[in-house]
Symmetry: C2
Subunit: 658 residues, 2 copies
């Protein structure tokens, strides 16, 4: 049992305060007080002076974290397979992380937040604090950090990169180009938490699976099948749909196999681990008053629960209806107008101008939609932040869905020409993939450079034009200047993964829904994703600050969106095939059309039936889980039973015995 | 904490031995030895002499059952929400049944089986047993009851009715006509076990929900909507599909709400509770050798598990393919031939003869199909008996599906006449419902009477024609003569519920798939089901022996069949509507047809999307479950943790700490 890793001093949290002119050690200097308080709760604090700001780096010995976890009553997996509140004294009973450490990065972060935001004035009188000559009072029972944040003294608190691990990951992951889709998922989990690790596991598997339809698509493009050519498109369509159905089911299995390796608490989704305590008092917490009512009167409580349960979905339904209606009434005409104008206009210059206007408007529109969605979601009583984030994902995806595909649909219906449709698809794919990849990697770098430049400029203007270039020597300052990994829409609910998943989902939609029109798209997508794995890794390791860890254990709403896109693509491809074989445009049911209708129904049946035949959890995961649990439970079943009946007696739980 | 119920002597198991001529008390008389052995293991045994047979009635005090459960290491729910092996010393730790008794009827039955089938010769030498002058040896370590059964001395062992509770149920349930769909589900659970209780809960909810479309169908029949008439059928269709989709989802909620009241062990489906121990050594047990291999080498074990996991579905797929192919190649032509001949033949007499021949053949065919299915299922490695039973249900339902609907489909396609189709449907409904109800209630009575008659006859011929009528005075003898509640097909896997569910599913299929053709069918079905509730109850309480309890906690495969029928009925009704509005038979896509296609897709979407919006478990059930569990766990978390870390140390589990 070595705690090596935790015993080394690794600074994991940084706080930023402005650099002051006065440098003498003042007892009442609020930064000094803050550092003293940090040390009092058991943290290791180090002060670093940067170019324009000062930084406090924080580390925590294992015991400090353990005590914080005990205070938080953090539920952790025990060896008998149930989750119990953590207790530092009984640390032996809890399952450790794959690398041997006791707490995962998520849990550590939560403990840090609890420790640093939990510092209150425990003395009898207010403490006088000074900052750059300004004087203010730290009242009794007031939280210090919140106070300093509201006084704009502490600018930010953010997680720090662990340089040793970051470099290791950079070598074994981001720069490991020749290993194609392989990624060290476990190390990513240990460093970034489960949500980001699951994203990369998904991206890897998706890319690996995509090689097959990519090869098929390429073959279709290159080889002339002669008289069979007519049947190749439907064959490709069927293969691709089956591929997608199997992929989405097998991904679930992979996901549960991955989770089997990480001892993530069952209540992981309910765990507000990445929230800063001050935010917790929101109105969206589980309804304690309902539970109380339930305890007081079962029948009444049941009704209250039913009301509560139905109210949530109803609100969500209303909100979804609002979003869908506004998409149909506002966005659809706009998109159609753009698509129509684009098709009608002959001059390339006007087309270009139109596209520019369109792009600016749509940016604005999407941002507006995102804001409206976030506002609406506040009135839904989703059970936890993950659910709220999912709700946002569904709503925002609606906007992007229209944006991305209406133009293509319109083009397909208007021109009914497979060649120009292919052109449009190629354009879209190149624009969306190559350009977006470039943008998403260059923008954070530009932001970082701009910030550096601004800081240097400020410094220079303060000090006068002296000493030439100013160097950023401390690592923590460099990290502070890096942009944070946040979503383009709804920052309060999502992190940067939102944009990465959105890109994947829109790509999946494009290649699947128009699979018959352009089989080569799969090859493009596969190549792009092979790139994406490494560039996303680089982005996370080099461009951004270390993200706040989130405890999600699945890809959540995105899998449902993938499934929805599969169903859509069954319908659109069938329509496309009907149109292809019905050149006269008379829409008559002939054997061909009937055959396509039958095929559509069979594919839909397979789509919805397949999940029944392939279980979501591999047998070995299930057996391993239950075996471990029952084994441990049986080992100590005698003591357990004595504890239970003892507990029952001691705490006087009244059971229904009559 | 009263154990009243268990302290009264209620005889729950009966064993039958032939009545012997010798009546003296012989020490070596095998029946006497059996009774002595029963008493030795702590059972209360009573001997009853009947007309031609002798009966041993068995009861068990609570402690005897508790000791048996401890020996069986029966997993039971504890107050902290996890299942642990039962221990009589720590009885306080376990959750009790709603009526206050410790063991459910399922568990009691399992204990009885363990006790009576576990009696072995523990002495050093074989014991000599006599029966009616015949002498044989009870060898060392041989099981007594198996021996006597193989010697045909013990004819049967069967569960006995509890007269007091039976009469109470008869009053509050079977003869409670005016309460329509209300049934005392909890009492049914306590008396018959979960599987039968769930069936009746389902039947009740189904009937209650059916009143709505029944009223709508009746309105459609009676009221003339004038110019709106054209739109009433599609409207009815949409309403009925929505109704069915909602019903199937809300049933899942009801099911979990019901289960929340009963402390059924989580592993209930894996619990071979209703199996007699001698059967247990079958090859279909969970693969112990795989688990061992897994423990020896994780990587190899994982592969072995994957092989095992894929082998099962593959075999099932192969079997399903065999069944489906044979249905299509053998049954379909046969059914079509019958349907065709029936339509073509003019003479009523020939029609009647044809139907008679058909009915006999189809009986034979179904029985053959059932046997083949049971044989095939033996080669699948389904995880447990429930899964195997489900697999049988799917296969056999295929046979019945063809049998029941091909004729109607054929008629619809051939004649395209809505009036004759309605006639056929009315015929089918009346035949299937009224006649089947009559048959299923009269056949067991006739069987019972015939058995009684045969026994009397035998007795008379033995004694000569004396004393006039022989009375069956003992209750246990009467019960012995009653038929057992068994399935018409695949008796080794299913009980009588198979036939009851089959009837419901075929009714559901008929009314749903031809909803547009004959809306009044719902009214017929609702009336029939109101009857069915009480007649089924009467059948179980009066006609049959008490069935062996089975631990199934859901309606299993039948719900999937209902869902399948909903999907089928979306397609068939759409086809029907197309046909109705396309009188010329040209199958052209016009706005009408396109509208129907769109409607079909929307309905299919709703069908598959609805389950995402309505959770399967009501919020109050979930909160209650987790709250209770976490509450109890937290109460004794300190002791639990100590136990766990103690257990870890004491038993030396090697954990991955590095």
């Amino acid at each position: 049992m070595n705690g090596n890793e935790e015993e080394e001093t690794i600074f994991e949290i940084g706080a930023v305060v402005p650099r002051r002119n006065v440098k003498e050690e003042d007892e009442a200097d609020c930064v000094q007080v803050l550092i003293d308080e940090f040390r009092k709760v058991g943290l290791i604090a180090e002060r670093v002076v940067g170019v324009t700001d000062e930084f406090i780096k924080l580390a925590a010995p294992l015991e400090t974290l353990g005590r914080a976890a005990t205070e938080l009553q953090m539920r952790k997996r025990t060896h008998i397979g149930i989750d119990l509140p953590f207790q530092w004294e009984e640390v032996e009973a809890f399952v450790r992380q794959p690398a041997g450490s006791l707490f995962s990065w998520c849990e550590r972060f939560r403990c840090y937040c609890h420790l640093i935001y939990g510092i209150a004035n425990k003395s009898r009188s207010a403490v006088t604090l000074k900052f750059d000559g300004k004087i203010f009072h730290w009242e009794v029972e007031e939280y210090l950090l919140q106070k300093l944040e509201s006084e704009k003294i502490v600018k930010q608190v953010f997680p720090l990169h662990d340089e040793r691990k970051r470099k290791k990951l950079l070598k074994s992951w981001a720069l490991h180009w020749w290993s194609f889709t392989y990624q060290p998922i476990d190390e990513i989990y240990l460093y970034y938490g489960p949500k980001i690790a699951i994203y990369f596991a998904f991206l890897g598997k998706y890319t690996r699976w995509m090689l097959f339809p990519a090869a098929f698509g390429l073959t279709l493009q290159l080889v002339d099948f002669g008289s069979l050519q007519l049947f190749m498109l439907p064959a490709f369509f069927i293969v691709v749909i089956l591929w997608a159905v199997m992929f989405s089911q097998f991904w679930k299995r992979t996901n549960s196999a991955i989770l089997a390796r990480w001892p993530i608490s069952y209540a992981v989704a309910d765990d507000p681990g990445y929230k800063i305590p001050s935010e917790e008092g929101s109105s969206l917490q589980p309804p304690m008053e309902l539970i109380k009512e339930w305890e007081a009167d079962k029948a009444k409580g049941k009704k209250a629960f039913q009301r509560y349960e139905w109210f949530g979905p109803l609100m969500r339904f209303r909100n979804d209806a609002i979003i869908i209606l506004s998409i149909f009434c506002l966005q659809l005409p706009f998109e159609l107008a753009y698509a129509h104008l684009y098709e009608v206009i002959g001059s390339d210059v006007v087309k270009f101008a139109l596209t520019a206007v369109y792009l600016i408007t749509i940016q604005y529109f999407t941002r507006l939609g995102g804001k409206v969605s976030v506002k609406l979601i506040k009135y839904e009583n989703n059970e936890n932040t993950e659910k709220r984030a999912d709700s946002l994902v569904y709503k925002v995806f609606g906007l992007y869905f229209m944006q991305s595909y209406i133009g293509i649909f319109y083009h397909a219906l208007l021109h009914r020409n497979i060649l120009t449709l292919r052109q449009v698809l190629i354009q879209r794919l190149i624009v969306s993939e190559v350009l977006e990849n470039l943008l998403e990697n260059s923008i954070p770098y530009l932001k970082y450079s701009y910030k550096k430049y601004r800081v240097r400029n400020k410094k220079k203007s303060e000090k006068g034009a002296s000493k030439g270039k100013i160097q950023f020597t401390s690592r923590v300052e460099k990290e502070y200047l890096k942009p944070s990994y946040s979503a383009s829409i709804g920052e309060e609910l999502e992190d940067g993964l939102f944009d990465d998943f959105l890109e994947l989902a829109l790509q999946f939609g494009t290649i699947m829904m128009f699979a018959c029109a352009f089989p080569l798209a799969f090859t493009f997508a596969a190549l792009n994703n092979l790139m994406e794995i490494r560039t996303d890794a680089l982005k996370l390791l080099v461009m951004y600050r270390r993200p706040v860890p989130r405890p999600a254990a699945t890809i959540g709403a995105w899998l449902n969106i993938f499934q929805f896109l599969i169903v859509m693509s069954i319908c659109t491809n069938c329509a496309f095939l009907v149109w292809l074989y019905d050149q006269e445009g008379k829409w008559r049911i002939e054997p061909g059309l009937a055959a396509i209708l039958v095929m559509e129904h069979v594919l839909l049946l397979i789509k919805f039936g397949f999940s029944r035949f392939v279980p979501e959890e591999p047998a070995w995961v299930r057996v391993n889980r239950t075996k471990n649990t029952t084994h441990a439970q049986d080992m100590c079943s005698k003591q357990l039973l004595r504890t239970i009946s003892g507990g029952e007696k001691a705490f006087g739980v009244v059971r229904k015995l009559e």
